[in-house]
């Protein structure tokens, strides 16, 4: 230790500071990359390339390129009319059912283009199931609601087992196991939605698309569905459209933010990445403005 005197302090650190370049002084941390579209570093179920959808002469969405990872929840968020539901419907050819709708670009599902002329859209929709905004059980018994799709799609096996397994996976078995002959319409809204999820599961899909599945439900029913969504990722890939930002934050692993030039016109992907990043450190100011409620 050198001799120290109070009269003439020698400050090595001060000298060191003066000798450092400004880059050295401020360069201790690296700025995050500016790229806003960050595909998940995981196996993809879907690969979308330059996807656009036209409704007649209206260009609803355009130039959507992203990967959707296996057994993860991917949330699509954005203001009304930005094309979230349109994009969701591209994933199982539901847009085919809308007169005047046409798609451009490619949607690969496990490496195969689902819009190839040789692909049967019914088979696509069996593998890629869908749950809608309002619960829509058939006016049949709980049992038949679940068994119907399985029978129609020729699912083999003991139907009682299929119904029980599907209702268990949808976290509603304990509530209905003694009332399987009761009408599905007699259930509460939250139970009806879980019944619809059970119905979708009964045909043994690979992916479940959910279009605002909780928007008609109360907060408790919503939380049950959200818990269920997390549980289902053990076996299924889920893509969910939601207007509820907190819901997207709670349930999803990845989030895509979309924005349209005007309502229903030219919706585009603005940012895509891990949900934790999108909701804490979005890279595009438009994403930041939207999720912090300063949009418009």
């Amino acid at each position: 230790m050198r001799q120290l005197t109070s009269e003439s302090p020698t400050i090595d650190a001060e000298d060191k500071l003066a000798r450092m370049s400004i880059e050295q002084q401020i360069g201790r941390a690296v700025q995050p990359a500016a790229d806003a579209i960050r595909n998940p570093p995981e196996e993809a179920v879907f690969r979308l390339h330059d996807v656009g959808v036209w409704y007649g002469n209206k260009h609803a969405i355009s130039e959507i390129t992203l990967d959707i990872p296996l057994k993860r929840v991917t949330a699509l968020i954005g203001p009304s009319g930005c094309g979230k539901s349109t994009l969701l419907r591209c994933l199982n050819r539901m847009n085919d059912l809308i007169p005047g709708a046409r798609i451009e670009g490619s949607v690969e599902y496990h490496g195969a283009n689902i819009y190839d002329r040789t692909v049967d859209p019914v088979e696509v929709r069996r593998r890629i199931g869908m749950v809608f905004q309002k619960p829509n059980p058939f006016p049949k018994s709980i049992y038949d609601n679940v068994a119907f799709g399985a029978r129609v799609n020729g699912i083999k096996g003991n139907m009682d087992d299929i119904v029980e397994r599907s209702l268990r996976q949808a976290a509603i078995w304990e509530e209905v196991k003694n009332d399987l002959k009761k009408s599905g319409l007699a259930l509460s809204g939250g139970q009806q939605q879980r019944l619809c999820i059970a119905r979708a599961l009964a045909v043994q899909p690979d992916v479940i698309l959910m279009d605002e599945p909780c928007s008609a439900l109360d907060p408790i029913a919503t939380l049950k569905i959200e818990d269920l969504i997390r549980e289902l990722t053990r076996e299924y890939t889920i893509v969910i459209v939601t207007h509820n930002m907190q819901q997207a934050a709670r349930v999803s692993d990845y989030t895509a933010f979309m924005l349209a030039a005007e309502h229903g016109v030219n919706g585009q992907l603005v940012e895509y990445g891990a949900t934790t990043e999108i909701f804490t450190q979005p890279r595009d100011k438009r994403t930041e403005d939207y999720i912090t409620g300063r949009f418009g």
Binding site: L4, S6, I11, A13, L17, Q25, A29, T292, R294
Partner: protein
């Protein structure tokens, strides 16, 4: 602007934090002045006023918790509130260090003066400069300035080391000075901790802007 009420509340809690920072800066300056001038009344005022600094910290914390729970902030809003929570904690502890110096000023007031230790004033000036600069960097969201400020902590650490050894030598050569010398080492220690906490504030400025927490400067002490 579509969240005017939330915007106002967010601005208010940050304004409260800046007022608190100004109170703490004043307390550090005044405690060193009380020590230098052997001003017992001023030392007592600083000790009494620490309650107000503490109260402001808890008020800020309450407001942050309320905004987090009721407004569900995200992205930069969330980072702002998290930063305010951390920074007010650091400021409150800095206030405690100023109070500590004031208590030493009280204890030394009736003792014969020790040989002057000019580096102590220099250390205090640097620590206050770091605090002031860190708060300015927060106001301006200036990460470059925040990264520059933390480098001064190395100088504060060296001054601390110098003061420590100088006072040890004084005490060894004259055992009658041991109590006073030890008190002054405590003062230096308080100042060293204030500089460390100013570094913490700089780290929060970087977090606020860049979304990541970096250890910008690891103190030797």
């Amino acid at each position: 602007m579509t969240r005017a009420v939330f915007e106002r509340q967010l601005a208010e809690v940050q304004e409260d934090m800046l007022v608190m920072a100004s109170m703490v800066e004043g307390a550090v300056n005044q405690s060193m002045e009380a020590l230098r001038l052997r001003d017992v009344a001023q030392a007592r005022r600083i000790i009494e006023n620490d309650v107000n600094i503490n109260k402001r910290r808890f008020d800020c914390e309450d407001k942050c918790i309320e905004l987090i729970s009721l407004q569900a902030p995200l992205a930069s809003d969330l980072r702002t509130l998290i930063s305010v929570l951390h920074i007010t904690t650091d400021l409150e502890r800095m206030g405690d260090h100023a109070e500590g110096i004031a208590r030493i000023a009280l204890m030394l007031a009736d003792e014969p003066p020790l040989k002057p230790v000019p580096d102590l004033s220099r250390m205090a000036a640097l620590a206050v400069e770091m605090l002031h600069g860190a708060v300015e960097a927060y106001k301006e969201r200036d990460t470059q300035r925040a990264r520059e400020i933390v480098l001064k902590d190395d100088i504060v650490d060296e001054l601390y080391e110098q003061i420590y050894h100088e006072l040890i030598m004084t005490m060894v050569s004259d055992p009658a000075t041991i109590q006073r010398g030890t008190y002054l080492i405590w003062v230096a220690h308080n100042l060293e901790r204030i500089a460390d906490r100013a570094t913490n504030i700089c780290e929060r400025v970087v977090y606020l802007v860049e979304g990541r927490v970096y250890d910008l400067n690891v103190s030797k002490y």
